[in-house]
């Protein structure tokens, strides 16, 4: 990649930061060049973010309809999946899936709620809320 070809299109997912890419200057030497971002990267990053946002939105809808507990919503909001939530809480997947059921979730012990809250980076009270 030549220095003049380093993308400066802008990548919103960089949050205003610039990235360093190595490119060939006029003298034929490679050096780090600040890049405002590349559309291709923005596309794939947004894809991952949007996929999780979609899952969270769907889980939120089901939680509000009483079909699922807020736990599933919080899991996606924390950009986790079942495997990761299981690893971080130390709870088996089948148990977590049970906790996706509203009735089971509402009778969870304080200790388990604390574990979830800790893993998800929210307060135990926050577990019950399904904000926008």
């Amino acid at each position: 990649m030549l220095e003049k070809d380093v993308p400066q299109e802008g990548n919103a997912t960089l949050g205003g930061h610039r990235k360093a890419v190595y490119a060939v200057g006029a003298d034929g030497k490679l050096r780090p060049v600040a890049s405002r971002g590349w559309e291709a990267e923005e596309i794939v990053t947004r894809q991952a973010v949007e996929d999780l946002e979609r899952r969270a939105a769907d889980a939120r809808r089901r939680a509000l309809a009483g079909e699922a507990s807020p736990l599933e919503y919080h899991m996606y909001r924390a950009r986790m999946d079942l495997a990761l939530l299981s690893q971080t809480t130390g709870l088996w997947r089948w148990r977590i899936r049970r906790h996706f059921r509203p009735r089971v979730f509402s009778s969870l012990s304080k200790e388990i709620r604390q574990r979830y809250a800790e893993a998800l980076g929210i307060t135990p009270q926050g577990l019950d809320e399904v904000d926008a």
């Binding site: 990649m1 919103a12 997912t13 960089l14 949050g15 205003g16 930061h17 610039r18 360093a20 890419v21 190595y22 490119a23 060939v24 030497k29 490679l30 050096r31 780090p32 600040a34 890049s35 590349w38 559309e39 291709a40 990267e41 596309i43 794939v44 990053t45 947004r46 894809q47 991952a48 973010v49 996929d51 924390a78 950009r79 986790m80 999946d81 495997a83 990761l84 690893q87 971080t88 893993a119 980076g121």
Partner: protein, 315 residues
């Protein structure tokens, strides 16, 4: 790592640190899932890189892991108070200064802590152009995040001032290692064969949403996590140029130029994939697979030349 080494008195650029540590590689690891998708790595794991430099530069690196966040933080504070620069392995998700869209549960991130002010740590992070600050609680959470490749509070620091190294000797050894990793690793998931394996996997993808996520994941591993672009290939090309300049072994210049071309091929692949994901081109996994196969062939040829060049290097 380059900053760490520079702090201890040896002028070492990022490309040199990367290259000398024989960090360039490729791995397709379907059994390690990050967000349900296979891990694709374009470099060796951070531990390998750090150990590589420790061995070749005589840095006397110490590695420490901790069972409790409290111990981990106490030790970090102790080392900082003693004036040391400390490297940390952390999760990316819990770092508050990371751009929100880039905060995923990726645990093999490395940063450098160079000080502490009150409740905040002063950090040099590859993602930022300038130094950043991070509150104690957040850093602790990032250091002790669980999941795949969990950091367990890993910290590392150098205890010796590196002596001015014999660049040629170290360079030759590093080239040997990298060629071996890319060409002769007995596992088909690693190196050039790994790229070929990934190519066949991509070829088999159905034309659906899952395929788009699969492909997007590859590009993210290549460009987002990779420093310098092109899955670290540009960074390594820079290393070859610098090594050639330092040692006078000019054969490395032509190799650097070839590797830049290969980096461009990777970026073309990323661009093609992104276009398909966005729907600007029809999703056609076999076309992407073909590009990957071509890249694999070019890399095989390149690393064979690299191997030949280092064999011919009289030093």
């Amino acid at each position: 790592m380059a900053s760490l080494v520079r702090h201890h008195g040896l002028a070492l650029s990022e490309p040199m640190a990367f290259g000398l540590a024989a960090a360039l590689s490729f791995a397709y690891l379907p059994f390690i899932r990050v967000g349900g998708l296979p891990l694709i790595a374009y470099r060796m794991p951070p531990r390998f890189i750090i150990r590589g430099l420790h061995a070749s530069l005589g840095l006397g690196m110490r590695f420490e892991k901790f069972r409790s966040p409290a111990h981990g933080t106490a030790r970090l504070d102790e080392l900082l108070d003693a004036g040391r620069l400390v490297g940390l392995q952390t999760s990316v998700f819990w770092l508050p200064y990371f751009p929100p869209d880039l905060r995923f549960h990726f645990n093999a991130h490395n940063l450098l802590v160079y000080g502490r002010e009150g409740d905040e740590y002063l950090i040099s992070d590859p993602v930022g152009e300038t130094a950043v600050r991070c509150p104690r609680k957040d850093l602790e959470k990032a250091r002790f995040a669980k999941g795949v490749l969990a950091p367990k509070g890993l910290l590392y620091y150098a205890t010796r001032e590196p002596a001015a190294p014999d660049w040629a000797r170290l360079g030759k050894r590093a080239l040997t290692r990298t060629a071996r990793i890319m060409l002769y690793t007995p596992l088909p998931l690693i190196g050039v064969r790994g790229i070929e394996m990934l190519s066949s996997q991509v070829n088999k993808l159905a034309v659906d949403e899952r395929a788009k996520l699969y492909i997007g994941n590859i590009v993210r591993m290549q460009e987002e996590i990779g420093t310098g672009g092109g899955g670290f290939r540009f960074l390594y090309a820079s290393f070859l140029q610098e090594l050639g300049a330092k040692t006078g072994y000019r054969a490395l210049d032509a190799l650097a130029a070839r590797l830049v071309e290969i980096g461009d091929r990777w970026r073309e692949f990323a661009l093609a994939a992104a276009r398909m994901i966005r729907g600007r081109e029809p999703l056609a996994p076999p076309l992407l697979a073909k590009q990957l196969r071509a890249i694999a062939a070019e890399e095989r040829s390149f690393f064979k030349s690299l191997d030949a060049a280092r064999k011919a290097w009289a030093c």
